[in-house]
Amino acid sequence: MKNVRNGLSRRSVLKLGAGSAAVSLLGMPAIGRAQTTSLSVANGGGALGDAFKAACFDTFEKKTGIKIISAPYIEGARLKAMVEAGAVDIDVADTDAAEAAPLAVEGLLEEIDYSVVPKDGLIEGSASKYWTACYIAGSVLSWNTEAAEKNGHPKTWQEFFDPSVKGRRTLWKNAAQTMEVAALGAGQPADKLYPLDLDRAFAMLDGIRSSITWWSSGAQSAQLLASNEADYGMCWNGRVDPIKQQGGPIDYTFEHALHMPGIWSLPKGGRNRDAAMQFVAHCMDPEVQAEFSRRIPYGPTATKAFDLLTAEERARMPSAPENSKTAVAINGDYWLEKGAEVYERFNTWVVSQ
């Protein structure tokens, strides 16, 4: 806090000049906006935060003079409390689309101004009314390579959910994503996945119940596979790929992956709405996205960004055209409508013996 405050007071005069210059260059009225000297951007931190800082934050600061202050990830409950209390101190928040859906319905997010944020050239489904996707994460079928050498590994979700296939499986203890792969395991076609056939999906889970080890955080899922606590599982590609790159005993496939957009959204009532919108626009720049994806294996949403990446780099991106032929995009609207009901059924299933 102290650093931030010092930084502001020391440089506020300079920033004011630079900020208003930048704003007038963009052809916007300067009144009220010139005061924006910094934006508070909540994000997941860690490797993701490092990639954001290098690719998005520093370049935005260089371009506009507006400093980006990285804030810790903001959960739905905190965002709701913040907006309802009228004390919005986060200008932009990075969440996933499923989490943002109920926030949007409750009117807690600003509408994205697509006269500022470019939506042309983005992958389909990236430009929603209340958020814009800046990267695509994949939930992928992953396995421990040492165990796979001995016993092989499932190549599709149908094999994954086949009770006659031996091995311990790890899945996210969460209805969203886990029910999707269970439905795929039941043979529901990828292009007709929604609405999920819940009865068949739960029957798939019944079949493998005794071999499931649940994970609750991305780090945990990677740990379970790397230590061969589980032989195979559904993991987020951003968690398993770094271990694979470092030579760890993990591999994965983008075949039949689930695509989950990572998004920028604006909590309603933020004081720096216009600068925040500019920041979101900046993050849609293909060069910015390409640089981001070089630093963390989440794929761009700007299609032009793929031209800037090498074939080797693209091989690690869930959203690269060659990797997404059999992928399914997670349907946020489905979870918005059915979430409460499906979560209840899922939670009851987990605790019933």
């Binding site: 609750s216 606590e229 409460a340």
Partner: protein, 289 residues
Amino acid sequence: MLVEGNGILSMKLRKFLLFAPTALLLTPFFLAPLFVIGAESFSGKQGAFGEYVKVVTDPGIRTVLYNTFYVALMVTFFSLLIGYPIAYVLARLKGRWATIGIFLIFLPFWASTVIRSFAWMILLGRNGPVNSAMVGSGLIDEPIRFIDNGVGLMIAMTYIMVPFMVVPILNGLRAIDVNLPRAAAVLGANPWRQFLAVTLPLSMPSIAVGATIVFVTSLGFFVTPSLLGGNRTVVSILISEQANRLLNWPLASALAIVVLLLTIVVFALLRLSQVMSRRRGSARAGALA
């Protein structure tokens, strides 16, 4: 009642003033939020008591509540089983050794709960040191499953909670007059009898304090159950999911209130049993006299 009216008033006033700092702390930081949560729990879409009906009738939620209290009870029991002997030994240590002993008890607190829970996940894994040692030594044929069924959760939580049991019991044991067990010895009681008839009953109040701290803290564990809980989902996980992911604050609030009420019931029963046993005790003493 020799005290004059004025005196009583000033006594009351003095008691009130002594209570004031606690009240000042608890009103804004505990009672007010509790009131907000209470109000929220009645604001669901299915009418004022809709969320409570759901909590009581939903089999999944009932199992989760059962899991929460079951795990907390087991952790309290095993913390006592492990913590009492530790406190007993520590109470007998003198000078520097006592300081070192207490330092060692608190050493694990230097690492966060997240890290310690993660460590247990690795220790208790099917290829972890515990299972490797047991399979390697021929003790068991197949690795034991710890982390999918709540067993590992209770082991890790007990490990975390033991110090909270040790400290109050240690204080209680130190407050016991050393002449009392000696007197029992003089009257012919062997060490085991001395312990059962004198030391243990005198340390009961500190056991109650330790058990209360461990039980209530265990009800609210979040990180450890999310890493090690397996299919034993506990209520904190459910509350977080409802509050954060589904934004169903009325249900999350109702769950929190129900846990609070159940906790109060547990402690009312505990208190009642204490009062009853004291009455029985004094009745027996009266009969003997």
